[in-house]
């Protein structure tokens, strides 16, 4: 049999490729899922029990949820216009702006914490001014919110940008010719059509904020969010004491993942 250039690989070769791909995927899947499953299996029950008996854990989880929610709200508020700008407007420096917004995702998180400390610490101009206004950032929930916002907001902006980009701009164009100002067209057309993508991005941001440790520990060790508490118990009392807290934190991070799955599906009116 003659095999021409560009002919599909033989059936045997296809089978080998399929087997290799299946094995590699399965191994990676196991590597990602097993530790989480094992963590929840080993500490989940104890963690659930401790939710009733351990006041510090409850307080820590409440603080984590509150600060993550506050950071997410701030991220949505400031990030939505930025994401729209990046998705819709072609301007000089757009690539630079996008790169700057991605930077917090790329630097080590303790380094992010140190950078924030430089900006918001009492020795800095901003931190000093905030302190003078009665707002202490370092060592307070404000520091936690700042750290969460810094590391997690880029995820929202990136997702929201994608959500806006998927809405065909000609919907807005039609709305404009039907009498809408840009803001009104955004509120009546763009926002409803990108709603699912925006909510999904906010959920991802929230989950990322909940799991943040490196930047928070530099800015605000106390009061402790769940990740810091888990680390604190691990270093003070060992694995056994850290397990229940870690398991509860993992479950808390799973909740938005489940929410995301329910939001899946095609957005209304987006480009395919």
């Amino acid at each position: 049999m003659t095999v021409g250039v560009g002919a599909p690989p033989a059936r045997g070769a296809q089978r080998v490729v399929a087997v290799v791909a299946a094995v590699a995927s399965s191994l990676l899947l196991l590597f990602l899922a097993v530790p989480i499953g094992k963590l929840i299996g080993a500490g989940g029950l104890n963690g659930a029990r401790q939710l009733f008996s351990d006041g510090e854990l409850r307080q820590s989880l409440g603080l984590t949820a509150f600060t993550a929610t506050a950071a997410t709200l701030l991220g949505v508020l400031g990030g939505t216009p930025l994401a729209w700008l990046l998705a819709r407007r072609d301007f000089r420096g757009r690539a630079v702006l996008a790169a700057v917004l991605d930077l917090p995702l790329l630097i080590p998180h303790p380094v992010a914490g140190i950078a924030l400390l430089l900006l918001l610490g009492r020795e800095s101009a901003v931190g000093g001014a905030l302190l003078a206004a009665g707002l202490r950032v370092v060592g307070t929930p404000l520091g936690i919110i700042a750290a969460m916002l810094f590391v997690a907001a880029p995820l929202f902006i990136s997702g929201a940008r994608e959500a806006f980009a998927r809405v065909e701009p000609r919907y807005e164009a039609v709305a404009r010719t039907l009498g809408d100002s840009p803001l009104r067209a955004f509120m009546r057309i763009t926002l409803p059509l990108s709603r699912r993508g925006l909510i999904a991005s906010a959920v991802v941001m929230w989950a990322r904020a909940v799991s943040e440790f490196g930047a928070i520990v530099v800015l605000t060790y106390n009061p402790k969010v769940a990740s810091v508490l888990s680390y604190d118990r691990f270093t003070s009392f060992g694995l056994r004491e850290a397990l229940p807290v870690a398991a509860v934190l993992a479950v808390l991070a799973l909740i938005p993942l489940i929410a995301l799955r329910t939001l899946r599906g095609a957005d209304d009116g987006v480009r395919s």
Binding site: A173, A175, R176, T177, L178, G179, L193
Partner: protein, 359 residues
């Protein structure tokens, strides 16, 4: 009135360059041009969606160059309708409507009133176009911009909707600009035809004028002229030659009797073209085929052999080889059958000197 004065705009890497034309108030303009020629960008620039980079745009006597789209008084219909998918059909039509009554009236006139209970996602392409038309007209705009608005409609519905658009255009005194690929539609609807290519206006004027007197061989071929011959034109004489007797009108408008040589063919032409090299354009419907030399007044007569027959429903295109030069004639399929034409049949192709356009 739509008055574009050296309008330039940029949309991504595409540019509209020095676009100038006028569609008088209450008139119907049609924009024709190949794919990617800038037709949609032109409509979007007039609507204010694509910003102008230079030039001026006047709508109904008002300079709207720096006026935002929402107050330009424009209705825009895209080929793909772009109905808002999160709103019902009824809410789409009512979106920018002048009043609930107008929305109801136009929905009825376009036949979109029967669709109001259906979700936008369930509509066919043609139904979407009906709703998009109703939505744009419900605003009672002064200027309507239509981008291939009938392309997804079946032929019967297309005729009805086209008639309705034309009726609303007339009743409401609208100025309309429509993009179309359909030359028949351009001829049926248009008071002004604008031929666009590469972001530039190649020719504009009355559709009849643009179709019959294309400014270049490229335009002629784009507009479907079947016979475009390169050659040399020569002025015969100032006075009317005897073969123009009985047809003094063309000469009265400054036209001259000319001779055009293309290869082995010599055509007689009445035109205002300067002597020299150029192109002769003869539309297929100008050429009459007969088995014997005809008795009529057609000055151009050539004997040749049928080399190809192509039947397109009621019409048949016949290619006649005249001394190596192919001439394409269009006649009714019935006539072709009556003449018993087949490949190799000897025929006379004849056409009037006024049926040849030089460019």
């Amino acid at each position: 009135m739509i008055d574009c004065r050296a309008l330039s705009a940029r949309h991504g890497s595409f540019r509209l360059v020095d676009v100038s034309f006028v569609v008088p108030a209450g008139k119907y303009g049609v924009v024709i041009g190949p794919a990617g020629s800038g037709k949609t960008t032109l409509l979007e620039t007039i609507a204010g969606i694509v910003p102008q980079t230079s030039g001026a745009l006047w709508l109904h006597g008002r300079d709207v160059t720096s006026v935002v789209p929402e107050v330009r008084g424009i209705g825009l219909v895209y080929q793909h309708a772009f109905l808002f998918p999160h709103l019902s059909v009824a809410r789409n039509i009512a979106y920018g409507a002048a009043s609930a009554e107008v929305a109801e009236q136009v929905a009825r006139r376009f036949g979109a009133d029967a669709l109001t209970d259906r979700p936008v996602r369930a509509l066919s392409g043609g139904e979407r176009q009906l709703v998009a038309l109703a939505r744009a007209f419900a605003r009672r705009p002064g200027v309507v911009l239509l981008d291939e608005p009938f392309s997804a409609l079946d032929p019967r519905r297309r005729t009805i909707v086209r008639r309705e658009v034309r009726a609303l255009h007339r009743e409401w005194g609208l100025t309309t600009l429509q993009v179309t690929h359909d030359f028949t539609e351009a001829g049926l609807l248009g008071d002004v035809a604008i031929l666009l290519d590469g972001g530039r206006v190649l020719q504009s004027g009355a559709p009849e004028e643009v179709f019959r007197r294309p400014a270049s061989p490229y335009i002629a071929e784009f507009l479907g002229a079947e016979n475009v011959l390169a050659g040399t034109a020569r002025v015969l004489e100032e006075r009317a030659p005897d073969w123009l007797e009985g047809e003094p009108a063309p000469l009265a408008h400054g036209y001259r009797a000319m001779e055009f040589t293309s290869g082995s063919l010599t055509l007689y032409v009445v035109g205002d073209f300067p002597a020299g090299t150029g192109y002769a354009v003869i539309r297929a419907e100008e050429i009459v085929l007969s088995l014997l030399p005809p008795d009529g007044s057609a000055r151009n007569r050539f004997r040749g052999l049928v080399s190809e027959l192509a039947t397109l429903g009621a019409l048949t295109r016949v290619t006649v080889d005249v001394e190596g030069v192919p001439l394409v004639a269009s006649l009714t399929t019935r006539s072709a059958k009556e003449l018993r034409l087949s490949e190799g049949t000897a025929v006379t192709a004849s056409f009037k000197a006024t049926g040849v356009h030089l460019c």
